[in-house]
Amino acid sequence: MKIIAVDRQGKEHTLEGRDGWSVMEILRDGGLDIAAECGGACACATCHVYVNEGWYEKLPPPSEAEIDMLDMALAVEPNSRLSCQIICSDETDGIKVTVAPE
């Protein structure tokens, strides 16, 4: 399963997703510049991404906790998500995300 990630310089990376891993973990291990300060606890909003082109609706909706935590993210858009809360599966194969500005 693939994850296509666009970094802050606009460069596209194709990363191998792993079933059950969070997108944040794949981005972090793939060397993208994503702070993910709290390590995936939905507690810091520093793994903020935009979900591209029609993928947002296909994902399970964000939890109340994630919606609340997005209040602490910068430059939030309607397709904003915290990548630590998006879990890789067959359904996310090919998902494209863009790392939000710092």
Binding site: E37, C38, A41, I67, L70, M72, P101
Partner: protein, 346 residues
């Protein structure tokens, strides 16, 4: 400028690892001062996840970030650590006698034999919205320009104030500053708030009374000469944009971690981490140690439990730096009446 403080060890960072270092150093009779930019102990544990459970602390099957910090504070209390909260370590200088002088942005100066950097990923700093030129309006003076904190409410009297954010800080300052503002406007990316319900209710009442304007919008641009903010461009969810007059813009999006002045201390860094040896946890500069998330070495794991181990070994090495002519007596707390006396349990 007050007289410098003299101590054995100065620790940068009062997170869990800094607190445990106080304990390990204390067992060896080394006294500690700690400097932390936050206003309370605990670092990431209390700032990011005070209520979240941690499951991998040896002997504590489940403990929240705040509970762990409370227990560490209790554990190191016998050694009377001296805290300097709300201060950022800004400069480190070697003294002619080989000691170190640490300076903070509050003017505190601490002279110590040993420096321990236990700063996690660096210092917590306010998140700056990605608006071009916003930094030109920071530090513009009281009550005008961009502020990430309110020091003196009175300086905002009679101003057109714009607040951005949806958390407790944003809502609290809307409520507190609205009575003295000329105009008070809140913008947030959604019509819903993370802040406490009673704050949201109060804000809604002020809005209904015409004392606060609320827009689902975000700030796209700032206007005015550097240091003289005149207004901002706001954008709504439908991408429509409009001009909004503002003397002061207060974004409240919480904190993020930046390495900060540690990068200027002359300590060798590798990708913003301090390389250390795994016997002493000393940086490449003798007398400066690094423990916890800030250090790196082959096999490093960013775990609290690893930091505890690092603190114990660091303390042994630091003892020889601070007390070069003394013999270190290795003792166990279970059997040593000497250690138990220090801990106040016998």
């Amino acid at each position: 400028m007050s007289t410098p403080i003299e101590t054995d060890v100065v620790i940068i960072g009062a997170g869990p690892i800094g607190l445990f270092a106080v304990f390990e150093l204390g067992l060896l009779d080394l006294k500690c001062h700690l400097v932390d930019i936050l206003d309370r102990p605990g670092g990431q544990c209390t700032e990011l996840y005070p209520e979240k459970p941690i499951y991998d602390i040896p002997g504590l099957p489940i403990v929240t970030g705040q509970e762990l910090v409370n227990r560490l504070l209790e554990q190191c209390k016998p050694f009377d650590p001296q805290f300097h909260f709300g201060e950022m370590a800004t400069a480190l200088e070697k003294q002619p006698d080989g000691k170190w002088k640490l300076k903070t942005d509050a003017g505190t100066e601490i002279i110590a034999h040993v420096v321990v950097v236990a700063a996690g990923a660096g210092s917590f700093q306010p998140k700056r919205p990605p608006v071009p030129g916003i930094e030109l309006h920071e530090n513009a003076g009281d009550g005008v320009g961009v502020h990430y904190a309110v020091r003196k409410m009175e300086t905002f009297r009679g101003k057109n104030i714009l607040i951005a954010g949806g958390g407790d800080s944003a809502l609290d300052w809307v409520i507190n500053l609205a009575p003295l503002a000329k105009t008070m406007t809140l913008v947030h990316h959604r019509d819903g708030f993370r802040a406490a319900a009673h704050s949201v209710n109060q804000m809604r009442e002020l809005e209904a009374a015409g004392k606060v304007r609320f827009h689902v919008a975000s700030v796209k641009a700032v206007h005015g000469e550097p240091g003289k903010l005149t207004g901002v461009t706001l954008a709504g969810p439908d991408k429509s944009e409009w001009h909004h007059e503002a003397d002061a813009f207060l974004p409240f999006f919480g904190l993020t971690i930046k390495l900060g002045p540690i990068a200027e201390f002359g300590i060798n860094l590798h990708e913003n981490l301090i390389p250390v040896d795994t016997a002493r946890f000393e940086s490449e500069t003798p007398g400066i140690f690094a423990i916890g998330d800030i250090n790196t070495y082959p096999g490093k794991l960013k775990l609290i439990l690893s930091g505890f181990h690092e603190a114990a070994l660091m303390a042994q090495a630091a003892f020889h730096v601070a007390r070069p002519n003394e013999k270190l007596r290795f003792q166990y707390t279970t059997s040593s009446s000497n250690l138990q006396k220090k801990l106040g349990v016998s």
